[in-house]
């Protein structure tokens, strides 16, 4: 199915344009139900087998070769069902060698990780704003200078835990912020996805 056709089909499914065939009796939508999903059984002494992080050293087909920060080599399968994030939900062709990533999925018997979700270059910074320019926030991240680029149409702000908005004009120089963004590899620059601030 093409991307457009797929979206059209999913849209109509969500809004009730298609008949439901499963007729499965789902449980209640009570909060207890949300907690009833099977819990992970992990040995606290071992690293989580279903998680990988590192820098991409090569891409072959739909497989990512990743060198972890502890020098572990990971092989990560990206499938149609894998969610890819790089500043925003994106597609496989946006991923480049040299990017950093965090991946979550299922470790297969051959040692590869079938990824459910991959977050590329994602960073989470607590910082304060030292200066502002057009489309740029200069950040002080525990003494390190970080240049935060505002991406029009993508960058969002969350003020005082209210729903995210695209209006950044309530940000103030000198104030503390938390930034979720996409690192530009081997620089001190990030593209900002969401900035959390008090207003």
């Amino acid at each position: 199915m093409s991307s457009l056709g797929r979206r059209r089909f999913l849209s109509s499914a969500a809004l009730g344009g298609a008949a439901v065939v499963g007729a499965t009796a789902f449980g209640s939508v009570a909060p207890e139900q949300a907690l009833a999903s099977p819990s992970l059984e992990l040995d606290p002494a071992l690293p989580d087998p279903n998680f990988a992080e590192g820098r991409i050293s090569a891409i072959t087909g739909s497989m990512l070769m990743v060198t972890g920060s502890d020098r572990t080599l990971h092989r990560i399968h990206v499938t149609d069902g894998t969610s890819l994030w790089k500043l925003r939900p994106t597609t496989f062709d946006a991923i480049k060698v040299g990017d950093g990533l965090y991946a979550r999925g299922l470790k297969l018997d051959d040692g590869t990780l079938a990824a459910d979700s991959v977050w590329v270059n994602i960073v989470n910074l607590t910082a304060h704003i030292t200066a502002m320019e057009r489309d740029v926030l200069h950040l002080d991240h525990h003494g390190d200078r970080v240049v935060g680029h505002v991406v029009a149409g993508t960058t969002a702000a969350v003020y005082n835990d209210t729903p995210a908005v695209s209006d950044l004009s309530l940000l103030q120089v000198g104030k503390h912020v938390q930034v979720i963004g996409a690192w530009r590899p081997d620089t001190n620059e990030v593209d900002i996805a969401t900035v959390f601030a008090a207003a």
Binding site: M1, S3, R6, R7, F9, L10, S11, A13, A14, L15, G16, A18, V20, V21, G22, A23, T24, F26, V29, Q33, A34, A36, S37, G81, T82, S83, L84, W85, R88, P89, D116, S117, T130, A131, M132, R134, D135, V136, L137, D140, G143, D144, V150, A152, G153, T154, T155, A156, V158, P163, A164, V165, S166, D167, L168, S169, Q172, V173, G174, T194
Partner: protein, 270 residues
Amino acid sequence: MLLSSQVFVVAIVLAWTGGVKLFGPAPGLAARRTALDRLVGKGRELTAYRAVGVVELLIAAALALPPVEFAEGLAATALALGFVAYLVYARRVRPESDCGCMGGKGGPIGWRSLSRACLLVLASAMAAGAGQEAASPLVVLAGLAVFVALSAELDRYWLLPLRRLRVRLSHPLAGLPVRVPLAAGVEQVERSPAYRAVAGLLRSDVRDTWTEGEWRFVSYSARYQDRAATVVFAVPTDRFVPEEVQAALVDESTEETLWRFAPTASVGLA
């Protein structure tokens, strides 16, 4: 006049830095932020930090009180050269350390602290060559202003207010295109009854998102009865009402809708 003014510039700067080291807030913390422990041994950094402060104050007092002597300027120059050497050393052994020059909060050692130390060497050398002529308050003030400009520790007293004023006059980030960001849609999804019903089936983060009219659609990969499925949420974009979020569980290979959540209807309708 230029040379004799430097006597006061150096005296004031040293009195300032020595005073901060001896009487400033949290000297223990400030000392720990420096790389002094690498130089003098662990546990002795606060003593060393204070000792530097005492030396600074002594030289400052000697410079400020008449008579002006060559030896005082020489001592100040030697101290300033020591600072430069320490900064180069600290930058090498612990790049993230604070210079500790004016108490803490100066940030890592960079070009500003290095050029400030070099400037102090120059000013001290000039002070050593000073005669008995009178100092000019204007030159002293100008010299001090340069030191203030190079001190990251003092930025919050003058640079930050200036930048705040500039942002208040015209905010550089005002006037961006207004649209409802994805994060607002995802938050609505995560607070919705529809999400509570299917959260246990979701395997991925947001896989795709698009908008049609007043609806934003957000799709996730899911696993249902051992088969791959897709959950798609429809979120209103013009209002924040998690209760109105709709959802469907879909098998994309067969194009079947397995389950749908509509806010008013009950779940699992055939």
